[in-house]
């Protein structure tokens, strides 16, 4: 029986490994680039500031992936959300609050349509959301092909509202800079918390795991598979809308090429965090670490600062590969032990 307890924890074990690898990587960065400010607390907080939108979007992605689906439309939804917000505020004088509601509405609309096609018409999620990807990007261009800077006072006030921390660091000139975050970070972390609670403590959350593990079994156990799937994509769409809003708070603009490839960031963050594309396995907290790990890798490269453009890409992927392979090896080892 001891044997089995260990194997149950294999997901948790992998999560621990992932977190440890993250810490190891970060500490290595602090040692290597401590002089370049890598050890500053603000550097760590920047991981959250820069990725607040991605964190929320990746949460939705994780849910979709746990149902054994996928959502590759999130980047386009983000672009559309940013564009609609920017366009309506700047060109149509819409208030910031209304714009936010529009953003969430767009997310929900994507969720409803994609969820319906996936769950009630049994169309493959990849294809449905690929169409969503095309549609969102194209619609962004339909709304406006220009780059629109958001200058709405309320919106900029939200975007620039720093929340100072009780700690900080001294600059080279000896000046104390308190560390800070933006409201986006708070929202993102609240979302993460809510999703963690939902996945662990609600019937809906557990049903998501069940249908991801084996949808026909789940059906026979009396779960309304279609409804759960639909709601998952609905929530996923909503989170994409919300994430798009946070993304927009960070970039304060709308343009056609925005957030290109964001879906891959969301997917890889989920996977690094331990979510399986084949469904049934994954933890929201893991995804959070997935995002942080990707952010740290990027941050390490920027801090290093001497690579040429192509080496940036290569090293970025090499580090990612190193990480994923290490994880895979640990996973294999834990399987063997069993």
């Amino acid at each position: 029986m001891k044997k089995s307890t260990r194997s149950l924890n294999s997901t948790l074990f992998l999560l621990m490994i992932t977190i440890l690898l993250f810490i190891a990587m970060y500490v290595a960065g602090m040692i290597l680039f401590g002089g370049s400010g890598f050890a500053k607390p603000q550097m760590f907080l920047n991981l959250f500031i820069d990725n607040a939108g991605l964190i929320v979007i990746a949460m939705g992605e994780t849910l979709a992936m746990i149902t054994a689906g996928i959502d590759i439309s999130v980047g386009s939804v983000t672009a559309l959300v940013c564009m609609v917000m920017a366009n309506s505020m700047e060109n149509h004088g819409v208030s910031a609050v209304t714009a936010v509601l529009m953003a969430l509405g767009i997310g929900l609309a994507f969720g409803v349509v994609q969820g319906f096609l996936i769950s009630y018409l049994d169309i493959q999620p990849f294809i449905v959301t690929l169409a969503g990807l095309y549609f969102g990007r194209g619609m962004t261009a339909v709304v406006n092909t220009e780059q629109i800077a958001i200058k709405n006072k309320t919106f900029l006030a939200w975007a620039n509202a720093k929340i100072y921390m009780p700690f900080g660091s001294y600059s080279g000139k000896g000046k104390f800079h308190p560390a800070y975050i933006y409201p986006t970070v708070v929202i993102a972390l609240v979302v993460v918390l809510l999703i963690i609670l939902m996945m662990k403590y609600t019937k809906f959350g557990r049903a998501i795991y069940a249908i991801g593990g084996n949808s026909s079994s789940a059906l026979m156990m009396g779960i309304n598979v279609r409804r759960v799937k639909f709601l998952t994509y609905l929530l996923d769409g909503f989170l994409a809308g919300l994430g798009g809003f946070l993304f927009c708070l960070n970039s304060c603009s709308g343009f056609v090429e925005q957030a290109k490839g964001l879906e891959m960031d969301a997917i890889s963050a989920s996977v690094i965090g331990g979510t399986l594309l084949s469904g049934g396995v994954g933890l929201p907290i893991g995804t959070l670490f997935g995002v942080l790990i990707k952010g740290t890798i990027a941050s390490l490269i920027t801090t290093q600062g001497t690579l040429s453009s192509w080496w940036v890409r290569i090293v970025l992927s090499a580090l990612l590969m190193f990480f994923i392979v290490l994880q895979a090896i640990f996973a294999k080892m834990s399987m063997k032990k069993k």
Binding site: Q124, F126, L133, S216, I267, W311, R313, S317
Partner: protein, 362 residues
């Protein structure tokens, strides 16, 4: 019993025919829609000694996609995942070929090295990329989309590294043949390249049991192992093939523009290739596959793009139309929809086909 066997055997045959039937209908529908705006869409003329016309464009431009779709179909069937690095691998192959031919110069008008050397080297590098993907997926059990994400991001970097971040031009007629015309032949050469790949793929699938093995592994790799199949090896092979084919596609694409544009060769083609596989009626979750379907899917996508150009849809809005058409096609192909459409009289829709599928997979 033998009687019922014979009878249902017949109806089953009809069903398999149905499988390709729908994708073909979709392709034809897309093509015919052109007649509204461009009545001479199907007109083929001889211009300058070569075939000229929209329909030729469709077939010609779809060549790379067809080549990729073949590899993508195999990868999908065996591993239930997709290789999203194919576009980047195309760029790598193009870069290698051009760099060898130009001997490191940014632009050249004579081959610095033999053409064959360049082609072979490009294909070898592309195949090695496939090996890396295959190793990660098959041996290390990393999920395909993420395993191939590595080359997806690194690939273009590698290509730029090879070409030193420049676009390398090979302004030699011989290099342009693969992307244009064989001397004296009115049919565009990429069509032959695609045709050759398809034929070779068919011969391999016909003459070996690779196809069956791939399906087995894709459906139930545990059971496949117990009947003596080497799941790892088979998955690996499909990725190698896919990498190789991406190399071929890269050569064609690079030959069209007689240069290696690391940033743009094969850009976004991976998504189209996956779409082709799905439009062909294949499940992206792996298992049974039809190569013909994927190929039809590839032509459908190119037909759609060409159509939208002919309709003067501005290319930044083109994705909207593409999305709508794709959704219509997949709804049309969805069994649930078909059932609903057929049994309009009946009010009930059945329980998800997932139940009938019986979750034996995974």
């Amino acid at each position: 019993m033998s009687e019922s066997t014979a009878k249902s055997g017949f109806s089953f045959k009809k069903l398999t025919h149905m499988k390709l039937f729908l994708p073909i209908v979709c392709l034809i529908a897309v093509l015919l829609s052109n007649l509204i705006k461009t009545p001479d869409f199907f007109k083929i003329a001889i211009n300058n000694g070569v075939l000229y016309g929209y329909i030729i464009d469709v077939i010609n431009r779809a060549s790379e996609l067809v080549i990729l779709a073949v590899g993508m179909t195999l990868v999908t069937a065996a591993s239930g995942g997709q290789d999203i690095s194919v576009g980047a691998v195309m760029a790598v192959a193009a870069a290698v070929a051009c760099q060898i031919l130009s001997g490191g110069e940014v632009s050249t008008t004579v081959f610095a090295n033999p053409y064959a050397l360049a082609v072979i080297a490009a294909l070898i590098v592309a195949t090695l990329c496939g090996c890396l993907n295959g190793f990660l997926v098959a041996n290390l059990n990393i999920q395909p989309m993420v395993a191939t994400l590595i080359l997806f991001t690194a690939g273009r970097g590698i290509a730029q590294l090879v070409t030193n971040g420049q676009i390398t031009y090979v302004r030699v007629d011989a290099y342009q043949i693969l992307g244009s015309y064989f001397p004296g032949n009115p049919i565009p050469a990429p069509i032959f390249a695609a045709l050759a790949v398809v034929i070779i793929a068919y011969v391999i699938l016909k003459k070996t049991t690779l196809g069956l093995y791939i399906e087995c592994v894709g459906i139930n790799s545990r059971a496949a192992r117990l009947v003596g199949l080497n799941s790892t090896k088979i998955k690996f092979i499909t990725y190698v093939i896919c990498g190789f084919l991406a190399g071929v596609a890269g050569l064609v694409a690079s030959s069209r523009i007689y240069s290696a544009d690391a940033n743009n060769v094969g850009l976004n083609l991976e998504m189209d290739a996956i779409l082709a596989v799905a439009l062909g009626g294949n499940l992206l979750g792996g298992g049974k596959f039809t190569l013909a379907g994927s190929i039809i899917g590839a032509y459908t996508i190119q037909a759609l793009t060409t159509t939208l150009y002919a309709w003067n849809v501005s290319s930044d809005q083109l994705p909207v139309y593409k999305a709508v058409v794709v959704v219509i096609i997949v709804i049309f192909q969805s069994p649930v929809f078909q059932k609903w459409a057929k049994g309009l009289g009946k009010r009930r829709t059945a329980v998800p086909s997932a139940a009938a599928k019986g979750g034996a997979v995974k």
